[in-house]
């Protein structure tokens, strides 16, 4: 039995998290760059189009200079799929992840943005810890780590709601519209809209964030959710808000939905807004 266990040191996890967090913040971000470039081809002349050109140029400059794409290198949101045959030696997973975030912050010159306590002094922790860690225990001998550098500009315009159980697609569309109409220009569009449907108050939020991790261009395997994603993207793009809110055809690059079962009396929904500088990286140990 013992020979089936995979031993992973805390240091290996820290090293991986530091590399992933820096890679997420700096790039290269070829998928996003390609997507923005394809959007540009379809965009009319005007300030929205000009802003899109600057967004694309910025991704190239970041990759060339090693500067972060955005000065807000975010909260480090770390998703871990933890195989049941994995044993982390000499450290807790939490400590190892936080050590990795601190290392990336110092060595890769990322901005420390975490403050404590949230009320009153709001003193900067100076190393951007703590990370926010979402752990899922799975079968197998792998440890999969995904890091999302989540900026506050887009996070601040996201919303959760406990909708009536039969609010259906219309209720979800209304919530997505309310986020985007009120907040899109503050969140650096073209956006990615992550939506978590079901679970409960806290899991709908985690689900919406996890939905953001889906690869660019990958279709939702559930056809009814794929249809809803297409519909929401269409409705939000018809607003004309456009890149940076300066007017244009593309306000939203993609909508990405995940779902879970929920209580018969509830329909928990979170709409998590992500900026055009979508910064994520993952690996398997």
């Amino acid at each position: 039995m013992k020979e089936n266990i995979k031993y992973i040191s805390g240091e290996d996890i820290s090293k991986a998290v530091a590399a992933l967090y820096a890679q997420a913040c700096i790039g290269p971000h070829r998928e996003v760059e390609q997507k923005l470039t394809s959007i540009l081809e379809n965009e009319n002349p005007g300030p929205g189009r000009e802003a899109l050109e600057l967004e694309i140029l910025n991704l190239k400059i970041a990759a060339e200079t090693g500067l972060p794409v955005c000065q807000d290198t975010g909260t480090a949101v770390v998703f871990v799929e933890f195989g049941n045959k994995v044993l982390v030696t000499d450290s807790s997973l939490t400590d190892a992840v936080n050590a990795g975030v601190e290392r990336a912050c110092v060595q890769s010159h990322l901005r420390p943005s975490q403050v404590f306590p949230p009320l009153g002094e709001r003193k900067n922790t100076l190393n951007n810890t703590p990370a926010i860690i979402h752990l899922e225990h799975v079968t197998g001998a792998d440890l999969r780590i995904s890091v999302l550098a989540k900026g506050a500009g887009s996070e601040n315009v996201s919303q959760s709601a406990m909708l009536p159980p039969l609010a259906g697609c219309e209720g979800i569309i209304k919530l997505a519209e309310s986020c985007v109409l009120a907040g899109a220009s503050k969140a650096c569009p073209p956006l990615i809209v992550g939506i978590g449907i079901g679970g409960n108050l806290e899991t709908s939020g985690i689900l919406a964030k996890k939905a953001l991790l889906r690869d660019m261009g990958l279709e939702n395997p559930h056809s009814e959710l794929h249809d809803l994603e297409t519909r929401i993207t269409g409705i939000l793009n018809a607003t004309g808000i456009g890149p940076q809110g300066f007017g244009g055809k593309t306000t939203v690059m993609e909508t990405r939905i995940l779902q879970l079962p929920c209580h018969m009396a509830s329909l928990p929904v979170t709409v998590c807004i992500e900026c055009h500088a979508h910064r994520t990286a993952s690996c398997v140990l």
Binding site: L54, N58, C70, R111, S185
Partner: protein, 176 residues
């Protein structure tokens, strides 16, 4: 695209039209939430607010051999509670990102102030347009310290002009 050199004359300020992209050169001051709170609670504005635009920005740390890290704008709407007082003190140009309320827009009109939007999320690009950075107050705030920057042709968009024009009004946008 025209280069606008700071400080600007009244004529140049008047000539800025919503939707226009300009390249901004010269001196600006950075301040975010915590710095605004300190400026207005202590009554000390550590730069010449009548002549120096306020850039809502907190950079990432400067890597070796660079004057500043990534330097894109932060969300302007968070600074709205401080704007009435800043306008009264003589602020004429704000650089930030994102739409602000119609109440704030009315105040900008009343005080003859212009709102410029830099490209949100384009911090690496902005960093390459900054020649120098000097912290002038509240160093302990880290990225939120008040600093003086010298810009060289930073691309920004006129968001609100002096004629009540707005880049965020989609009435003029034709999807086809």
């Amino acid at each position: 695209m025209r280069v606008v050199k700071l400080p600007v004359t009244d004529e140049v300020l008047k000539s800025m039209k919503a939707g226009e992209q300009i390249l901004l050169s010269g001196i600006v001051a950075t301040a975010r939430d915590a710095a605004h709170n300190l400026m207005l609670s202590t009554g000390t504005v550590p730069f010449d607010i009548k002549n120096i635009p306020v850039f809502y920005m907190g950079p990432s740390p400067a890597p070796p051999n660079r004057v500043i890290g990534s330097s894109g704008p932060t969300t302007s709407a968070r600074m709205e509670p401080f704007i009435p007082q800043m306008l009264k003190l003589g602020m004429k140009i704000v650089i930030g990102k994102g739409e602000m309320s119609s109440e704030t827009r009315t105040l900008f009109q009343k005080h003859g102030a212009v709102y410029l939007a830099a490209t949100g999320g384009a911090g690496a690009l902005a960093s390459t347009k900054i020649l120098s950075r000097k912290i002038v107050a509240w160093d302990h705030l880290g990225p939120e310290a008040v600093s003086i920057l010298e810009l060289e042709e930073l691309p920004v968009f006129v968001a609100w002009d002096l004629n009540n024009g707005s880049i965020y009004s989609r009435s003029s946008y034709d999807p086809e």
